[in-house]
């Protein structure tokens, strides 16, 4: 496969796939870039010509910009901490031999199969509703005033809903990692006099390092773009307007495609900054 002709043949054969994929990615990207330099108001005159960096300046200087960035980071960070923390715990529990292990494992995985819109609706109406929700009933049972979850604790509620959806993913990856831990290593540590917590800290956790890295990287990519959960629950109010949601509002509610596109470019930049940051911080775990 290394001769000159076989290599150029390979290139030729791969070309259609590469061109298709490039087009798939490049066309939307280029269109976003183009629109971001235009004043484009579909219902108020359409394409009104080039405006340079005006959209970019307006997007950042809007009072909603920085709160949206921080809301995004808080949600991503909160969900990561909860899913990784609980994921490790659950993985350890599920790895213990116990009765009904198979069924319990399927139950733990099942939230992942529920669509985000559906799960957000279920949480909103069945659990967090201040009148009929399960939480409200529990609060009333103990004589407390029910909390209006989505307005009084909006951020926590959304983090809770999203964590519930992503916990199975984290648990699944971490469980497979824990299963590959050599039992003799734990036994050696036990003979060496390590207490259960020390065994966890010195043997299990380092073993999980790589899996945790994978969970953090993949979840971050998806969590930066969460939308349905916010759309269905708070509609971006009560401080839950993330960058994605802000862009959506600019394009569809304000009918300002140019401004939204500029926001889209900022979102790409933010995602890349976070990616570089993560790679620096945890990426070295991957090449051990």
């Amino acid at each position: 496969m290394a001769t000159q002709s076989s290599r150029s043949a390979a290139r030729l054969m791969m070309a259609p796939a590469v061109i298709l994929l490039l087009g798939w990615m490049l066309v939307p990207l280029v269109m976003t870039l183009l629109f971001s330099f235009k004043k484009y108001l579909p219902l108020r005159g359409g394409d009104l010509g080039w405006v340079g960096f005006e959209n970019y300046v307006r997007f950042v200087t809007s009072s909603a910009f920085w709160p949206s960035v921080s809301a995004t980071l808080i949600i991503v960070g909160g969900v990561l901490i909860i899913t990784v923390g609980l994921g490790v715990l659950l993985a350890i529990l599920l790895n213990q031999p116990m009765w009904g292990q198979g069924i319990v494992r399927i139950l733990v995985i099942s939230p992942f199969f529920v669509m985000p819109t559906v799960s957000a609706l279920v949480w909103k109406n069945m659990f967090m509703d201040p009148v009929n929700g399960l939480f409200a009933h529990i609060w009333k049972f103990f004589g407390a005033a029910p909390i209006e979850w989505l307005s009084q604790a909006s951020m926590q509620s959304i983090i809770l809903i999203v964590s519930w959806q992503w916990l199975p993913f984290a648990t699944l990856i971490l469980l497979t990692a824990i299963q590959s831990l050599d039992r003799e290593q734990l036994e050696a540590a036990e003979m060496d006099g390590a207490a259960p917590l020390q065994r966890f800290g010195y043997v299990t956790l380092p073993h999980l390092g790589r899996a945790i890295t994978v969970v953090v990287l993949i979840q971050t990519i998806f969590l930066l773009g969460i939308f349905a959960e916010i759309f269905v629950t708070t509609q971006g109010s009560f401080g839950t307007r993330t960058l994605t949601y802000l862009i959506y509002q600019r394009v569809l509610e304000s009918q300002n495609v140019g401004l939204g596109s500029a926001g889209g470019v900022y979102a790409i930049i933010l995602a890349n900054i976070i990616a570089i940051f993560l790679m620096r911080m945890v990426g070295k775990n991957l090449d051990q």
């Binding site: 003799e184 290593q185 036994e187 050696a188 540590a189 036990e190 006099g193 390092g209």
Partner: protein, 334 residues
């Protein structure tokens, strides 16, 4: 000190009794080898002594202290695992230091013991490497180093050499024997390789299905195997075990004769047959002999290079005084 006594120790996994009640004493300073076929319970027995498995009955005493319910770390035993079980994310130095760190040994003392162990085991140049960057033999030495620095009452080895190639295995075998001679600490060594058992042991414990078949020094087991199982297990190549009329002629149900105790003679041998496969090792030659009129194929060891080839006729004479006799239950008749 490290005298280990097992008193009616038994082990059950669910309904399966892997180790029926068993008594055994391992004297202080002895190199004891547990040997037996795969699945006979050697590892289980070792893990019971280590405390990694709970006993189903009986008592384990270490230096006449009851240790049956003492957690593994408090028994003062160190174990070397078949997979080495090194901590992959720690350097060799940290691996060796780990048990001392857990025991709260001072930093200076730690370094002193690490350096001594590294020197004894030729690991000085590798102290800053990770286990993943070492060869199998070096990893094995790190695992031994980690055991030594604890200064245990006894060492437990579970098939420590089975992942090494033949040449390295011979080398490590010597190193472990050397270590035992130097430290004079009790060692229990599990293997299914009877050559390792014969060469290293002060005392061999032959196990079958959780039962102790015989305990004794290598030569005792070689000279006077207590039953046909031990007779067939100890010695290489295997002892020839012959049933039927030939055995009855000696007043036994089964007779055994080791390949090295059968002489190749010019004529008038007790047995005559044809040569099958001949295995030439240079120092000696193993012949497999067919058509002797016996049901079994005979194995014969001839010293040096004997020029007999496939299909040749051969005359054999067993040395009468070295024939082992066994009764119908397979037990030795003196």
């Amino acid at each position: 000190m490290g005298r280990i006594t097992l008193d009616k120790v038994s082990k059950r996994f669910g309904d399966v009794e892997v180790i029926p009640p068993l008594d055994l004493t391992i004297e202080d300073g002895d190199f004891t080898v547990f040997v037996g076929p795969s699945g006979c319970g050697k590892s289980t027995l070792l893990r019971l002594i280590a405390g990694l498995e709970d006993t189903s009955g009986g008592q384990i005493r270490i230096d006449s202290q009851d240790a049956t319910h003492v957690p593994p770390a408090k028994r003062g035993l160190a174990m070397v695992f078949q997979s080495y079980a090194l901590y992959p994310h720690m350097s060799v130095r940290k691996n060796i230091a780990f048990p001392m760190k857990m025991a709260g040994v001072s930093e200076d003392e730690q370094n002193r013991r690490i350096d001594a162990a590294a020197k004894a085991l030729n690991l000085t140049d590798y102290l800053d490497r990770r286990p993943g960057q070492l060869s199998g033999g070096q990893r094995q030495r790190v695992a031994i180093g980690r055991a030594i620095v604890r200064e245990p009452a006894a060492f437990l080895f579970d098939e420590p050499l089975s992942n090494l190639d033949a040449a390295l295995r011979v080398g490590m075998r010597l190193e472990i024997s050397e270590l035992h001679k130097r430290l004079r600490t009790t060692m229990i060594y599990v293997t299914h390789d009877q050559v390792e058992a014969m060469t290293m042991a002060d005392k061999i414990v032959v196990l079958r299905a959780g039962h102790i078949e015989q305990v004794g020094s290598p030569l005792e087991l070689y000279r006077a195997p207590r039953n046909t199982f031990v007779a067939g297990f100890i010695g290489s190549p295997k002892m020839n075990l012959i049933d039927g009329p030939e055995a009855a002629r000696h007043g036994a149900h089964t007779i055994g004769i080791r390949p090295e105790h059968i002489d190749v003679v010019e004529e008038n041998g007790t047995w005559q047959g044809t040569v099958g496969v001949a295995e030439h090792l240079g120092s000696d030659t193993f012949f497999h002999i067919h058509n002797t009129g016996l049901a079994e194929t005979l194995t014969v060891r001839a010293l040096g290079e004997v020029t007999l080839s496939h299909g040749d006729a051969i005359h054999l004479s067993p040395r009468a005084e070295l024939i082992h006799k066994f009764d119908a239950q397979g037990l030795r008749i003196e």
